[in-house]
Symmetry: C2
Subunit: 322 residues, 2 copies
């Protein structure tokens, strides 16, 4: 059985060893703080599992796994500024605890640090890894831009939404796995399959997140239920509801958008979505991407034994109460 906790601890311990200078403290204290406020560390674990899948020791992909995690944290620091988020994992965000200038500059240095960690690699693998990383990093930023754009648009299609979350979230999961595969010297076809697996797990995970936002058990969820509804976010759940709604239901949705009582807004929206019946559509979409992912993994030409950990991790990611 996959000892996820052990992998997380492995990443946590090694993340602490990443060299962050003491001075200037205004720059490095916030970075040290942010890298240690936790998280599931799923992305770097994917890099380790990507290497192990092809028979390579996880130690060999460690620096690149840490690179992926530092990169992910860079995006969180800058996204938090853009979203004006005061909290991340129940801790103050950098721009909140320090200031916006700090958060901009810390993010910049984290991105550079991610490259530094990435480059600590067998020179023969450097060029391919960098190309994948550059492309992935650019796509993540493009996804964030689309997400920002969608706030001001009322005509976002479901396809556009899927493309946005693919760029903003999923390519990094695919990229994390593929970097592990590159380090392990996997063949071209296998690298493509494992990327496909990661990307589709990412999509499934993100759509699941959309449902959980409104339907999660408030105790287990750990953050405000209905956050997306309150901020009128155009999620997969929301867009599917609008697509299926009758004229009357659309009118209710339109009114709810401006409902000032947020508890009422969340409650009524949930009722509306239940009437329209969107939860099943979302579950179907999740299953669709989950299946694409597992099929891609199935085609990877390594013994099934090697795939066990990755299958378990995917199962763990999907196993949240819906």
């Amino acid at each position: 059985m996959l000892q996820l906790k052990e992998y997380t601890t492995f990443i946590e311990n090694n993340l602490k060893k990443v060299e962050i200078p003491d001075s200037p403290s205004g720059l490095y204290d916030p970075i040290r703080y942010f890298l240690q406020i936790g998280g599931k560390r799923i992305r770097p674990i994917l890099t380790l599992l990507g290497a192990e899948l092809f028979g390579t020791d996880k130690e060999k992909a460690l620096s690149q796994a840490l690179s992926i995690e530092v990169f992910h944290n860079f995006t969180l620091v800058h996204d938090d500024i853009m979203d004006q988020a005061p909290l991340r994992r129940n801790k103050e965000t950098i721009h909140q605890k320090w200031n916006i200038n700090s958060a901009i500059l810390c993010g910049d240095v984290m991105l550079i640090k991610a490259y530094e960690l990435l480059c600590d690699i067998d020179p023969e693998k450097l060029s391919e890894t960098l190309q994948l990383f550059n492309k992935t990093a650019t796509q993540v930023c493009e996804g964030q831009q689309l997400d920002l754009d969608f706030e001001y648009r009322d005509d976002v299609s479901i396809d556009e939404y899927i493309e946005m979350i693919r760029l903003k979230t999923s390519v990094l999961l695919g990229g994390a796995l593929k970097i592990g595969a590159i380090i392990a010297g996997a063949g071209e076809k296998d690298k493509t399959e494992i990327y496909e697996f990661g990307q589709n797990i990412g999509l499934a995970f993100q759509i699941q997140d959309d449902i959980l936002d409104l339907y999660a058990d408030p105790v287990k969820f750990g953050k405000q239920v209905g956050g997306d509804v309150i901020s009128n976010k155009k999620t997969f759940l929301h867009l599917t509801a609008l697509n299926k709604a009758t004229k009357e239901q659309l009118e209710i949705a339109r009114q709810l958008k401006n409902e000032p009582d947020i508890e009422l807004k969340v409650k009524r929206t949930r009722e509306l979505y239940d009437q329209v019946g969107v939860k099943q559509d979302c579950k179907k979409k999740i299953q669709e991407h989950y299946n694409i992912a597992l099929n891609a993994l199935h085609r990877v030409a390594v013994p099934e034994e090697n795939k066990k950990n990755i299958v378990e991790l995917a199962g763990y990611l999907m196993d949240r109460d819906l």
Copy 2:
């Protein structure tokens, strides 16, 4: 004679050819705009000259030269947010013309683009170039942090100031030249010397900038004379003045800090600095770094003929009315 104009045009033309996608336009329009508002393009030209110094065609260092320029522009975009600067080269800054979120994200993508351009290189040179670039990029951010820190400190020493401008400005000039030298396959000692040359030219240039801020001909200067004085910036000029001032002069300086009439503030500060006699100290310091630079260049083991263009560029950089 160095045809500086031709080099600038060469960079300008090729910068236009750098692939910037059309979509998402909210991300790429501002980047395209910013990369084309001009500038002297000194840093990428240094990369070209660094390669030519060691007998390599400038075309071979083109992608890395563009990388240096895109990186420099990334720092400008983010610095402009931090400094709340509405204008850059008489054009609106990105955060002013679009918004802060745009400017953050555009800067991020520009930094990634800089890496992409950097990586378009002979694989044998990739690792060394990246290491230098990572280090330089980190130092530039550290310099920016020190600059931000100095705003809130009243005990900045001249040595600390020099270290700040070394990091924020000078290492990039040294790095730009050295990357050209790496591409040309220069020897270790020569690479160190050319870096030393660039770094000291950078220091000389920056101290000169400090003097020009207060003593430039307003017509030729092209921006507000006394900008540093108005914003109470701790420049080399300012710190040297404080160091040499009598008790009475220090008291005048203290009062001038809060003078609301900015024209009067600039005029009186200039009078004070003239009384204290700081201009000569600055010129001496500039000459000191200029000499260190030329001596380092002198030690580079290539025919003097090869050095002509770089010497001329250094002369051009220093030849501003003081």
